[in-house]
């Protein structure tokens, strides 16, 4: 059996099971809404990392039906946990060291986001004075609504992402 075949061994029903190797030090973002994995990959700047990153899309989940997962083999310290919470606060994060889960930090929507997202309102002062920090305030924690600090325009997930 070839190496590839060993990794993707045949299931009883004739399909193949995908294996992604265990990581020694890093973190796993699990329970990401299916289809949002790539977006999170870019939002977190994982495409700029030199370490090993695995994105699993549409994995089976008892709770969610389908989910995305991201495994990153580098220390989590360099990432802003608030930003994780904003990107997908229903996701979970497992921090791994020496191959073991050492922490499961709770993700919450941050009260304020600074220079994470941009205001889409062409009438906002930030559209002309681009040196201003892009500050968004969490105005509705239940619905996860963020509004521009200056013009109060609500941030729309799809339209306003950088």
């Amino acid at each position: 059996m070839s190496e590839k075949e060993k990794k993707n061994e045949q299931n009883k029903d004739g399909g193949y099971k995908l294996h992604v190797g265990k990581i020694e030090e890093g973190f796993v973002i699990d329970h990401i809404h299916a289809g949002r994995g790539m977006q999170i990959y870019h939002d977190l700047g994982l495409d700029k990392l030199d370490c090993c990153v695995a994105i699993i899309r549409n994995a089976f989940s008892v709770k969610m039906g389908k989910k995305d997962m991201i495994k990153v083999e580098c220390p989590i310290d360099q990432f802003d946990m608030d930003f994780f919470g904003f990107v997908d606060h229903t996701a979970t994060v497992d921090v791994i060291k020496d191959g073991e889960i050492i922490a499961k930090p709770k993700l919450e929507l941050p009260k304020q986001l600074k220079n994470v997202i941009h205001c889409h309102n062409p009438r906002c002062i930030t559209s002309t004075e681009q040196q201003l920090d892009q500050i968004f305030i969490l105005t509705d924690p239940v619905k996860g609504t963020y509004r521009c600090k200056y013009c109060e325009t609500a941030y729309k997930q799809d339209a306003d992402r950088k």
């Binding site: 002062i125 609504t145 600090k149 200056y150 013009c151």
Partner: protein
């Protein structure tokens, strides 16, 4: 030091105190005519305005103070690319208080964050216009005798009309106020007013397109102009600008004690024939505006008004 950027920067008690002070000034303006001797108001108007700028200037002059500033972005360093933050840092060295109008939403908030003098938002794009709100509240309270138990109709451009948004925010603080919004579909109130304020607070409101149907139910009719400068598309502006015209015939449907307010300038939305109707109070509103701005200037300069 306090700035007023949004109507929410003043709580109900402060607003009531300002209106009380405004009434006292209106009753005896002479008493207050030297309260701002030696003080300077800077009027930084990056967008043309007649009433608001002159109202602020008249307010300061009638308090004994002086004014300086510019009336359009063309005559300011904004044409050289100076930021709002830098401009206000400079103006803070010259003046004691500042009123700013800017076409970009949030500009006065940026100014306030970088200022060492009180900043009053005199209108920022389609966003907020707190002194117009104070004017409207003061007019209603002075002429109607109350700010609670009212049915208030807003008609026209409710999407970009900043005076509308600010007044709604202020009126929700008073008991038993109901709103009726009359607008074409394209100019309905924005979500942050409908969902985050009215629905959230359980305030009763209706959205309709016909003005005639609801006129008999109103205590206050707040008319607005469809503003050309808020449209990116001239075609849409032309299509919507004359959607509502309040004329003598429609006024016959309204109650005898209904008041018609308008932030001015009026274009076609109120026929000139309505001006003579005693219920049309939009020119009186301008006078109330000056007195409430006098009260606000005194309040923000923390001058003792206990004459």
């Amino acid at each position: 030091m306090k700035s007023v950027i949004s109507p929410l920067d003043l709580d109900v008690e402060e607003v009531n105190d300002l209106m009380d002070l405004g009434s006292r000034i209106m009753a005896d303006p002479k008493k207050y005519s030297h309260m701002c001797d030696g003080k300077i108001l800077a009027t930084l108007f990056y967008e043309p305005s007649t009433r608001t700028r002159l109202s602020f200037e008249a307010a300061m002059l009638r308090l004994g103070g002086k004014t300086m500033g510019f009336a359009s972005a063309d005559s300011s360093s904004a044409t050289k690319g100076e930021t709002v933050a830098d401009t206000i840092r400079v103006i803070s060295s010259f003046a004691d208080i500042c009123a700013m109008r800017h076409p970009k939403e949030g500009a006065p908030a940026v100014a306030a964050a970088n200022s060492t003098i009180p900043v009053i938002n005199a209108g920022d794009g389609g966003h907020q216009h707190p002194t117009q709100t104070l004017t409207d509240l003061f007019t209603i309270r002075s002429l109607k005798g109350r700010l609670d138990n009212l049915v208030v109709g807003f008609c026209g451009d409710l999407k970009f009309g900043r005076t509308v948004h600010s007044l709604i925010r202020a009126l929700v603080n008073y008991k038993n106020v109901r709103f009726i919004f009359i607008s074409p579909k394209e100019l309905m109130i924005p979500d942050y007013i409908r969902n985050d304020l009215l629905i959230e607070k359980g305030i009763p409101f209706e959205e309709v397109t016909q003005l005639e149907d609801i006129l008999p139910r109103l205590d206050i009719l707040y008319m607005t102009r469809v503003q050309r400068e808020r449209f990116f598309n001239e075609e849409d502006y032309v299509r919507l600008k004359d959607f509502y015209i309040l004329d003598k015939k429609k006024m016959e449907l309204a109650r005898e004690d209904m008041l018609v307010l308008h932030p001015l300038p009026r274009v076609n939305e109120i026929s000139v024939e309505v001006d003579k109707d005693p219920r049309a109070v939009y020119f009186k509103q301008v006078e109330y505006g000056m007195y409430i701005r006098m009260a606000l200037i005194l309040h923000l300069l923390e001058l003792d008004t206990g004459i």
